[in-house]
Structures are given as C-alpha cells and as structure tokens.
C-alpha cells in the first residue's frame, strides 16, 4: 500500500472507476467489490452486501453505495469525498459532451456506441448479481427468497420497495 491519505485513495479510486462505469451504478458494483473487499480490505464481504442493501432501500440514486464505502474508510469526509469523486467527473463530462453534440440525431455514432455498450453493461450487471448473491445467499431459504423476488419483479409491476421490505420482514422473523 502507498502512504497516501485514505481520502486521496478514495478520490482516485472512485474518480477513475466512474469513467469506466458504462451502464450506470449497478454495472460498477463488481469493481467496487473488488477494490473495497478484495484489494484494499476496506470492508468485509458481509459489510459490502449490507451496504448494497442499505443503498437499495434508501431514497436517491443507487450509486450512493459509494457514500457508505467512503464512510467505512474515512468517516464523514470519506463519505462526501467518495460521493463527489464518483459523481462529479462524469457529470462534467456529460455537460461538455452535450454541448459538443447539440444535435445528437445528426450523427450515427452515439447510437452505434450505445448499441455496442448494451451487451457489455448487461454482462457487468449480471456479474454484480453473481458477486452479491455469493455473499448473501448462503442458505437454501436465502436462495429461495432471492429467486422468488427475481420472479415476482420480472412478471409483475409491484413496487420494488415492497419486495425489499418483505425481505426485511422475513429476515426479522429469522427465516432467511
């Protein structure tokens, strides 16, 4: 490990990661897990899964799991630094690109690049699901709960918040 302060390593880690997060926050979860759990040992596997659950349950963009990771590393300053590092660089990039491409419909490149990125971001999100499932679904009951929620969310339009709360109730009852 280098002798840099943890704040700087949070900023450089998430600033760089955000530039590669094609397909949004869920696509970046495997990389967050790799960096936070496997490389830097900022959190345990269990803490990471908890952070993901809390971020899903809370209001706001789901990318704010980085706030929780940042807090685990360096308290409140870490939480704010990680959030800004993950969100500001790509927002500024988006601002400049949108000014460059004032008429996006005239060029076919945005559409082509978008089409090319779709399979990659689905692959990344599937990897997120696998990595999170490995740390949460450690019993048959847990696996069944995940499978049931997956099916219900696929076939119905029920508000995801209810499914999360139902999971919490089942957990509270000691079933999972």
């Amino acid at each position: 490990m280098t002798g840099h302060s943890p704040i700087w390593s949070l900023i450089s880690t998430f600033g760089l990661m955000s530039l590669f997060a094609v397909g949004g926050a869920a696509a970046a979860v495997p990389e967050m897990h790799r960096i936070a759990v496997e490389v830097n040992h900022w959190m345990t596997d269990k803490q990471f899964a908890d952070a993901y659950a809390i971020a899903q349950l809370s209001p706001g963009p789901n990318v704010l799991i980085v706030t929780l990771i940042g807090y685990a590393v360096a308290g409140v300053p870490g939480a704010l630094a990680a959030t800004l590092a993950m969100c500001l660089p790509t927002a500024l990039l988006a601002y400049y690109v949108s000014r460059l491409l004032n008429r996006p419909s005239q060029s076919r490149w945005p559409g082509l690049i978008q089409a090319a990125l779709v399979p990659l971001s689905i692959g990344l999100m599937a990897a997120s699901a696998l990595i999170l499932a490995q740390s949460t679904d450690r019993s048959i009951a847990a696996l069944l709960l995940t499978a049931m929620v997956a099916v219900m969310a696929s076939v119905s339009r029920v508000n995801p918040l209810w499914l999360l709360l139902a999971g919490g109730v089942l957990g509270f009852a000691g079933i999972v």
Binding site: G123, L124, L145, V149, L161, G167
Partner: protein
Amino acid sequence: MSSGSAPAVQEPDLATTPPSLVALFLAFARMSLAGFGGVLVFARRAIVEQHRWMTADEFNETFALCHFLPGPNIVNLSMVFGSRLRGIAGGVAAFAGLLLPPTLIMTALAIAYARFGDLEVLRRILAGISCAAVGLLIAVVFRMMMPLLKRADPFAVILMLGVFLAIGVLRLPLQAVLLIAIPISIGLTYFLRRKVAA
C-alpha cells in the same frame, strides 16, 4: 391525453420561462427523495409531465446521451438537464439537489450502521433485504437481456457472457476488461451495421 382545444401555435406546450436555480434544486431534491430504487421514473414524471420543462422527445434524447456516457446516468442527466435550462449554474443546482439530500441521509445511515450494525436483529433484517435486493437486480438483468436473446444476435450474447465471466467469475479489473471489450464491441457493431446496410 390532451383532450382540450388544440393550441393555435405548433410550439409544444412547455413552460414559458426557465425555472430559477432554487426551483431546479428543489425539483431534483424532491424527485431524488421520492426515488426509492431508482430516480428515473420520478425524474421523467417531474420534468416532462409536472413542470413541462422538456418534451418527452427531448427527455429521451437527453437520457440517451447520458446513458451512453459512463457514470451514474441520472446524475449525468441532472447536470445536462440543468445546464440546458440555466447554463452551468443550473447544472450545478440540479446536480446538488439530486445528490445533497440523499447523501446526508446515507451518511446518517452509515453512522447508524457503524454503531448498531452488529446488533443481531439488524443483521437479520439486513440479510433479508440483501436477498431481496439481489433478486431485484436479477430481474433487471433478465429484463434487459430479453431483447438481446430474442434477436438471437450471437456476437452480443458472446460479448455479454465474456464480460460476465471476466468480471463476475475471474474477477479481473474493470478497466482492463473494458479496454479490450469496448473496441471489440464497437468494431463488431460497426461492421455488422455496414453489412446490413450494404
């Protein structure tokens, strides 16, 4: 459904004056706090239907741009959208409105978790929520995958599986994988489209 009398001009029925910076901040703060499990639905409702700051087409175009750029889409959208209405200051106001309130909430939750995270009852509840959250993610992946599988596009499926294996199973670094996968995917898409056009 606009059943009223048709307006004489062809101008879309948009708000006439751009919103103030405070209005932008508050509007994004509201949609962010309403957006459990994703803000996009609420953003569309507020921007297109409630405030009429953009037409549905303009919104789709802006979102498509933010979707193909890296980073959290809705955060990118706030910056691009705010700046289209009120310049860079508008972008910053929307960005801050979207992120500040939930970041404060999340920080409070992080403090609570650090203190009480080891409580047995909280552990059990979080375990249940985690299982459900993974299930939701699987459902999203499944829904996104369906068009790809229906088209039976072998290259897209192979690329998707390749990225899944490299990141999910082999746990390779994201940058390395994408620096290889993105050029391959763009190249393939380009040549396949040219072949179709020819």
